[in-house]
């Protein structure tokens, strides 16, 4: 499988990349980790006229905590997984990064690419929904923040303008008594999810759920937030019945399709099972467990 020919340009900085995108007449593509884009190009399902390589742009590979957690778009999945801050305070991100594709792919694949590609099968989107992240988009007119709920428009389509680049992901600092997890069922290691569920729970001092975030992978044209399930939990004592109800609501929200990863009805039920398990695990973490 050989890609079609393309023009190649190395962006010196974000501004340069934006300028290249702007002048490509919609035919330009940003090359970050390339682990989704290059396979598509090899099958000639993507044939960009211009490939804008942003891998040499400085300043997009940092992870820092500054009130919130700020992750540069070019951070590789393995670096995210290994980062001491992330490991210590954001286990949900570690768990998400650790199940994306395989370890070799994760050495190149970037968190920004995982989100900007807007593949509903990608794993970060659900997690970002659960943790209520925002992304920073940079375009010719400057920067803007996009709340994660407004990022995913359709399969492979985001609300980024054609000449905007996703440069950073911002994740709110975990509240006290919070815990999160990402559970993914896959046909084998390295596969996309049959179903994936990200859950972030914050408990109040009484043990009630102060807030809940639940994101679902491969549950429709985009990653989705299971808002009804979140509502069921919020302000409630998370007993078995409430959790089960929330899990059922999450399954009801999921609209998976029948494919080689199983029939839709099966997947819907797996969303229920994984959501229940993820809520239980997130609550245990919120209470200080592993």
């Amino acid at each position: 499988m050989i890609p079609a020919s393309f023009d190649y340009a190395v962006a010196r900085d974000v501004g340069h990349a934006i300028q290249l995108l702007g002048t490509s007449g919609g035919e330009g593509k940003v090359l970050a980790g390339g682990q989704s884009l290059i396979p598509l190009m090899k099958f000639r399902l993507a044939q960009p006229a211009l490939l804008i390589d942003i891998n040499r742009v400085a300043g997009l590979s940092a992870i820092k905590e500054n009130g919130d957690l700020r992750i540069g778009a070019l951070v590789r999945e393995n670096d995210l997984e290994a980062n001491p801050i992330v490991r210590q305070r954001y286990p949900i991100l570690v768990e998400t990064a650790a199940v994306i594709a395989d370890p070799l792919v994760r050495n190149l694949a970037t968190i920004g690419g995982n989100l900007a590609h807007a593949d509903p099968a990608n794993d970060h989107p659900a997690t970002m929904l659960a943790v209520r992240a925002s992304v920073v988009a940079q375009g010719p007119k400057g920067e803007r923040m996009i709340p994660i709920d407004e990022l995913f428009v359709d399969t492979f389509t985001t609300s980024l303008a054609p000449d905007e680049i996703l440069t950073q992901i911002r994740i709110p600092k975990p509240a006290p008594r919070s815990g999160g997890t990402y559970l993914k069922l896959e046909r084998k290691v390295g596969d996309f999810a049959i179903a994936g569920v990200a859950v972030m729970i914050v408990l109040d001092a009484s043990g009630k759920v102060a807030s809940a975030g639940i994101g679902l992978t491969n549950a429709g044209p985009t990653a989705i937030r299971a808002g009804r399930a979140e509502d069921v939990l919020t302000d409630q004592m998370p007993d078995d019945k409430t959790i089960a109800e929330a899990a059922s609501r999450a399954a009801a929200a999921a609209e998976p399709v029948s494919d080689l990863r199983g029939p839709a009805a099966y997947k819907k039920d797996v969303f229920r099972v994984l959501t229940r398990r993820a809520i239980v695990k997130a609550i245990a973490r919120a209470k200080g467990g592993a």
């Binding site: 499988m1 050989i2 890609p3 079609a4 020919s5 393309f6 023009d7 190649y8 340009a9 010196r12 900085d13 974000v14 501004g15 340069h16 934006i18 300028q19 290249l20 002048t23 490509s24 090359l31 390339g34 682990q35 290059i38 396979p39 190009m41 090899k42 099958f43 211009l50 490939l51 804008i52 390589d53 891998n55 393995n78 594709a101 395989d102 370890p103 070799l104 792919v105 050495n107 190149l108 940079q138 375009g139 010719p140 007119k141 400057g142 920067e143 290691v189 390295g190």
Partner: protein, 179 residues
């Protein structure tokens, strides 16, 4: 915050001269920009130890180290490696001495047809560089992006354990300050 305007070069290029250091040796070759790193190694440099086993970034037969990290060279353009270092199976043996990973694969029968072996060994070498004493699970996780159809992985795991042991023993034999 406004973005500063970049100097105007809006078009890219179809051919490009790339400088890549492979196994310590510098190469400068002009290639088509669409040239995959694996083809660059195999066709332009004639280094055929790195193999191609799939077209969907699954099998890992093409694994090389790019600036020290194992990646699938079928999913990297050669132009992306410009100015970087690449390590391939051909560079594992140094000064006529096999790398412990190579030795392990031979001693523990970690290969049969040999086709996945270069990629598997490169992944193993990277693992041991980062984690000199991996558990069996860590080994299995590390090689989960490399498919083998012959061995059933059991002896590959043993080969990597052999190499880990050997590396630790060798390191342990050195002066405490590391020499």
């Amino acid at each position: 915050m406004a973005v500063e305007t970049a100097p105007a070069t809006t078009t890219g290029t179809r051919r490009m001269k790339v400088h890549v250091t492979v196994n310590g040796q510098a190469h400068e070759v002009e290639v088509e920009t669409r040239t995959l790193l694996v083809h660059f190694l195999r066709e332009n440099l004639g280094m055929t130890g790195t193999h191609i086993g799939c077209d969907t970034t699954n099998c890992g037969a093409c694994t090389v180290l790019l600036n020290g990290r194992p990646v699938k060279s079928c999913t990297v353009f050669a132009v992306q490696a410009d100015g970087m270092s690449v390590a391939t199976v051909e560079g594992l043996e140094k000064d006529g001495k096999l790398d412990p990973v190579q030795e392990g694969f031979h001693e523990e029968h970690g290969l049969q047809c040999g086709f996945c072996t270069p990629g598997m060994m490169i992944t193993a070498a990277a693992l041991l560089a980062a984690n000199p004493d991996p558990s069996e699970l860590q080994i299995r996780q590390a090689i989960s992006g490399n498919l083998c159809r012959c061995t059933g992985y059991v002896n590959i795991v043993k080969s990597i354990q052999y190499a880990a042991r050997k590396t630790r023993e060798t390191a342990g034999g050195k002066a405490p300050d590391g020499g």
